[in-house]
């Protein structure tokens, strides 16, 4: 870009010519990684299904269309039917919606709580750090699945409660990561400079330190989406799913009793979960590599 003969746009005037815009550099790094591209494309396909399938297919995933336990491919049902005679293909496509919604919102909650607690602890240190880290440790020692089960069964299983429960039990890792980053960055010169010109704490935390602490947190967020999806599946498997919303975990939970007689009823949504979590992990890895300055010069 720097060597092209096209006239520079007015925006570029102020930029030093030889340095790439960080976003461009990031994209260049990310696109070097084939696995990351594959993960991204796969994830986009799943997101596309989640967003547009209902409008395109116009079907009801709960509709009992045929005999229960019809094997894949037989009688015209590509993935077979489940224990209530629902079309698994339709159910799996529609299930993407709830699964991704839970995964994304749980990850959002995780990141929000984690960054808030971690940044405050890492920035202020002292007794604030002590108190917040003891709270974090308290949540860390609770078995996450058990705590999530208690929360969900206490407030009845609906999509929001499931998402909140997952968020509440999995923010501790993000909090510790954010704290470590904040502790490191707050001692760097540009932060001292910001402080010396009289910036307030709020500005330093949100505008000065946080943008610089983001890369590892973004990687962590991507991986959290995968963990949250697995969590939703685990809760549904244990029967704690919203019976009014089709999700992959719910399909597995509904059909787990028939695992030996009709394995496809559990396998199909299982494969969907596997592919989604795989794609999210590949994206996370790709992000990690792209953000890593040591890999940039290769």
């Amino acid at each position: 870009m720097a060597d092209t003969e096209a006239p520079p746009t007015p925006m570029d005037d102020t930029e030093p010519v030889r340095i790439e815009h960080p976003v461009v550099e990031f994209l260049r790094m990310y696109l070097r990684n084939w696995a990351a591209i594959a993960g991204f494309l796969m994830f986009m396909a799943i997101v596309f299904a989640a967003l547009f399938a209902p409008a395109l297919l116009q079907r009801d995933p709960f509709e009992m269309v045929w005999m229960p336990f019809s094997p894949p491919g037989k009688d015209g049902y590509l993935l077979g039917t489940d224990n209530l005679g629902r079309d698994l293909l339709i159910a799996v496509i529609y299930g993407a919606r709830a699964t991704l919604a839970v995964g994304a919102s749980a990850a959002g909650i995780t990141i929000f709580i984690g960054i808030t607690i971690g940044s405050l602890a890492g920035y202020y240190r002292g007794w604030v750090d002590e108190v917040l880290m003891r709270i974090t440790e308290f949540f860390q020692v609770l078995p996450p699945l058990l705590l999530a089960m208690v929360l969900v069964s206490l407030f009845s299983p609906t999509l929001p409660t499931v998402a909140i429960a997952i968020g509440v039990v999995s923010w501790t890792g993000v909090a510790r990561l954010a704290r470590a980053e904040f502790m490191r960055i707050r001692e760097l010169e540009f932060v001292k400079a910001a402080r010396s010109i009289g910036s307030r704490d709020r500005r330093i935390i949100w505008r000065v330190i946080l943008p610089n602490a983001l890369p590892p947190l973004i990687v962590n967020a991507a991986l959290t989406v995968g963990v949250a999806i697995l969590f939703e599946a685990a809760l549904s498997f244990l029967g704690l799913s919203d019976p009014n919303v089709m999700s992959w975990g719910k399909l597995i939970g509904d059909n787990r009793d028939y695992l030996l007689d009709a394995p496809w009823t559990v396998t199909m949504p299982g494969v969907a979960i596997f592919l989604t979590v795989l794609s999210v992990s590949l994206i996370g890895d790709g992000l990690n590599d792209a953000f890593n300055p040591r890999l940039r010069e290769r």
Partner: protein
């Protein structure tokens, strides 16, 4: 040659017949029983429920016992008599019966027991007509009733009418008596030897039992096993000889293939467990009979029985269990008919909107495991076919569900209700207008009111002529099924499973099944 062959066959047959005939009950051995529930105490006079009733009927003898044809037989009572006007019931005790601590059983104990039931037991109508009890001599008890009570003899059987010793339970608050759960003193075939709350108990043969030669088994181990898989494995390995109230179709399918195990649905007709879809008839749209009927037509009961319950449940057509002599005969079976359901909704004025939906409503269900949730999802999907959009509400636990339904905060609920032997005890409560009592579980939660039904039940509730009662209950059920405060689905798929290589005379051949004394059971 042919003759010889016939002769040989005959010989073989006669040997087979002889060998089954000589399988005489014998004494000794330990019977291991497992159940997913274990009660905190075993005093049937102050609590209902099978976890109390199963051990309770081993520890405490009742006045009477019933066979599988609903006929009463002597137990603690040697003879009994109901006066012609039905208002006086005289019971004569056998003179050889003692409590486990050696005390004689007297009419004072009988009087004390029934008064305790009347004051403490949740089934209020059971002994409500008993006004006063006289004890003219040591073995004779006379009950004076305010009105004839057709189920009084049944109420003297199994866990509904055990005799508890006055000298043990007569002092202080009986609910707080420590001997409800430790050092229990009854007069049944077995004594409580050891009890670890919530885990296991060991019952030992009562050598002083008043039935001659009984019981056969030396010892019963009652183990609590909650998990279906552990239960299955324990039965397969032979660690457990018997279990009851098994419902899981996967478990039943797997155990059915095992030649050592016998599965039977017998022995549940007195408990009479029914599962149904109940409507809150005070809520829109269920205040309209046509809507309720439409819903009943829309549900495929055969799908629920055959697919969801693996064929182990039985169809039930009305308020009374198919195993009862009063089982409904000539009632509308609401055979699946979606077109009829739609036209009924049209008639009721619920036409489909632009999105095809006629009615938005909610469905609760007993939080009793995967089968209930599946059934709720089935009902939701099925009702969608007639333009009804159902939102399933999941209760966080059993108490939460009870609270919702008992306080009438529901539109529809999947429910399970027991008949408890006689309609007077277990059926009237669901339909009487006078029994709409917010907050109480399993009252007339549908808030169903039909004065004609109340009138018939009042009459049948004090009619002693069994044939006349049969006619009355048929009338009552015809009206109720037509009014459809409830869509009747099926019986609970309860099964007793026992090891046929080990257990002889399993307790499945009476109306009370495992909730009757196991004194004739023996170990082969």
């Amino acid at each position: 040659m042919r003759k010889l062959f016939t002769a040989l066959t005959c010989a073989a047959l006669s040997v087979a017949v002889a060998s089954t005939a000589v399988a005489e009950p014998k004494r000794g051995g330990t019977l291991t029983f497992s159940y997913r529930l274990m009660a905190g105490h075993f005093n049937p006079a102050i609590a209902s429920g099978t976890p109390t009733g199963i051990p309770g009927t081993q520890l405490f003898a009742a006045l009477l016992r019933f066979d599988d044809k609903w006929n009463p037989h002597p137990y603690l009572a040697e003879s009994w008599n109901i006066s012609d006007d039905g208002l006086t019931v005289t019971v004569k005790l056998r003179d050889n019966a003692h409590f486990h601590d050696g005390h004689d059983i007297t009419s004072e104990d009988v009087k004390f027991s029934i008064e305790t039931y009347k004051a403490q037991h949740p089934f209020k109508p059971m002994y409500a007509p008993v006004e006063s009890i006289d004890t003219p001599d040591k073995l004779t008890t006379v009950f004076h009733l305010s009105k004839p009570h057709p189920a009084i003899l049944l109420a003297f059987s199994s866990q509904l009418g055990v005799v508890i010793p006055k000298h043990i339970y007569g002092e202080g608050d009986i609910r707080k008596n420590p001997r409800n759960s430790q050092d229990v003193v009854g007069s049944g075939p077995f004594k409580l030897k050891e009890h670890k709350p919530g885990e296991y108990m060991i019952l030992e043969r009562n050598d002083d039992y008043f039935m001659p030669g009984l019981p056969y088994v030396d010892r019963i181990v009652y183990k609590k096993i909650v998990e279906t898989t552990s239960q299955t494995i324990a039965l397969e390995k032979g660690d457990v000889d018997m279990t009851a109230f098994a419902v899981d179709p996967q478990l039943l399918n797997r155990l059915k293939k095992n030649p050592d195990l016998t599965l039977t649905p017998n022995g549940y007709s007195a408990i009479g467990p029914l599962e149904w879809l109940a409507f809150n008839t005070k809520n829109k749209p269920f205040d309209d009979k046509k809507v309720r009927q439409a819903f009943a037509y829309a549900i495929d009961k055969n799908f629920i029985i055959n697919v969801l319950y693996g064929g182990y449940a039985q169809r039930s057509l009305g308020p009374i269990h198919p195993g009862s002599v009063f089982a409904p005969k000539d009632v509308n079976p609401y055979t699946l008919d979606l077109e009829k359901a739609k036209s009924l909704l049209d008639e009721a004025g619920y036409k489909p909107g632009a999105d095809g939906v006629r009615i938005h409503t909610t469905l609760d269900y007993i939080p009793g495991g995967a089968a209930w949730k599946r059934k709720a999802e089935y009902v939701k999907a099925q009702l969608k076919k007639i333009g009804v959009d159902v939102t399933i509400k999941t209760s966080s636990d059993f108490r939460a569900w009870i609270k919702t339904v008992a306080n009438h905060n529901f539109d529809m609920t999947l429910d399970s209700v027991f008949n408890w032997g006689d309609p007077v005890i277990g059926v009237h409560r669901t339909y009487q207008a006078s029994n709409i009592r917010a907050g109480v579980p399993w009252h007339n939660t549908q808030q169903y009111v039909n004065p004609e039904v109340d009138k018939i039940m009042d009459e049948a509730g004090q009619e002693l002529d069994q044939e006349k009662r049969k006619v009355l209950y048929q009338q009552m059920q015809k009206i109720v099924v037509d009014d459809a405060p409830i869509a009747y689905l099926h019986t609970s798929p309860y099964h007793t499973i026992y090891n046929n290589k080990r257990i002889g005379n399993p307790p499945v051949n009476s109306i009370w099944g495992v909730c009757a004394p196991w004194d004739e059971v023996y170990i082969k």
